[in-house]
Symmetry: C2
DNA sequence: CTAGTGCACTGGTCGGACCAGTAGGCTCAG
DNA sequence: CTGAGCCTACTGGTCCGACCAGTGCACTAG
């Protein structure tokens, strides 16, 4: 039976074809963020499909964070700049459906953050170093509400200084998931003030190591800082996996 | 003007409400993988919306990888077990839209893989160790086509042994993106055979370190292995960022 | 020249219709 | 009685036409 090898045919829905074409146009750059798609009624002419089909395609594109539509807008749907929103959404789903433990999430943060800081120690510019210092300064001055925001700014500066956009995005996504998970616990911590003080000291040590260009030290300090800050919220049995990263 | 502080109202579309309810049911576990949703015509009764609205909601849920529908199926849409497909999709989009360089992707793999191997060195079971050895054995015996599959199996065994599902999923997603990016270049490499040999040796060294429980060594070897295998495909100017991880 | 008002469009939702496909019950020949 | 085949009652995919509330712009009235 040496006949031609046939491939299984995949029935492809009309709306998927529409999605593919628009997606291709966006990812190839022929549609840039800020530009507008034609109106639904015109798209149905261009694609020769019904409006229902166009709309289902737009729903998918919207779910992927590529476009946004607004009722009454005389222009069509807007092509969006990339946001990690879709990534965030699917990772949040992963966290819930795959039952990711807080320990796994924190461990992942330790990995990403320490790697970012390791890279930042070599690649950081003076401006980025200044940003980190400013963020820590704000942590010191801030009340309990502003503390978190300044902390985010610090870690974001680190992530940007790593020069790796993927690290930056993933750091951001995982951090927000972790923060959401334990926001109320953190706010209720009795020794909140002490934790904040300790965290600030740790951050300053990390900055010092980054300034000195000692990546491995900075990475180690960063892991330690993360562990000390979050370990209390992780079940005792799972802390060992976190400590495995502390050497 | 000390009146009540009003919150801005967010107009929420009908199909979003439907998505929210189904998503909540799935993530909370009241709908398990394999179970079926009601048919579209029944859902429109349950939610008191039109079929168009139900269908748009289902498109979104499908785009997020939560359900799948099949024409003619007497049961409704099927609730899917979690797959990283949605994560994969959004990360692929990120790679294209944010113009992630190959260097960034490989760097991310180095970070994840070395962290996984660091953890695996402490947490691996004997079975997982055996899996890694078997995978390397298959790499040795395999032809050029089977080599890649065995390599995937090896890295997946490492990732599983790390005990962190998030690391496992991200490793998988990023690897497939990298592989797709340079599949043709790898196949066309003139010294393919030599690269494969070297890669096998590196893998065996990593296994030895994992068996010995020397996590830091295993991690270092793993980064080196990844660098040696992929550096040739990374533009020279960007290799420095990769080497920053080699210490 | 400006403030206000329509108007012509937009997306969101609805209802009905048809088609191709599926699964399972039913019939009928053996 | 048993098995193979058909038939029917569904399914999802697609199309059409309609209505509504919202938006931006041009035009008008002051």
């Amino acid at each position: 039976m040496g006949g031609p090898r046939f491939e299984p045919v995949r029935t492809v829905r009309a709306y998927e074809r529409v999605v593919e074409q628009v997606e291709e146009a966006i990812e190839s750059g022929s549609l840039s963020p800020g530009e507008r798609l034609a109106s639904e009624r015109e798209l149905m002419v261009q694609f020769s499909v019904s409006r229902s089909t166009v709309r289902e395609a737009l729903r998918v594109l919207q779910a992927r964070g590529l476009v946004r539509s607004r009722p009454g807008d005389p222009n069509g749907a807007e092509v969006l700049p990339f946001t990690p929103a879709a990534l965030h959404k699917s990772m949040t789903t992963l966290a819930r459906v795959a039952e990711l433990s807080l320990a796994e999430l924190v461990q992942f943060r330790m990995v990403l953050d320490s790697s970012a800081v390791l890279l930042a120690a070599r690649l950081r510019t003076e401006e980025q170093l200044a940003e980190m210092s400013q963020a820590v300064a704000r942590m010191r001055e801030a009340d309990e509400a502003g503390f978190g925001a300044a902390d985010v700014a610090f870690h974001d500066a680190i992530a940007r200084a790593s020069g790796n956009k993927l690290i930056q995005v993933c750091t951001d996504v995982v951090r927000s998931i972790v923060v959401k998970l334990i926001a109320e616990k953190i706010a209720a911590a009795p020794d909140r003030r002490a934790l904040m003080e300790q965290s600030i000291r740790h951050h300053e040590e990390v900055i010092a190591a980054v300034r000195a260009g000692d990546g491995p030290l900075a990475a180690r300090l960063s892991r330690k800082a993360m562990y000390d800050y979050y370990a209390a919220y992780v079940p005792v049995a799972e802390r060992a996996a976190l400590r495995a990263l502390l050497e």
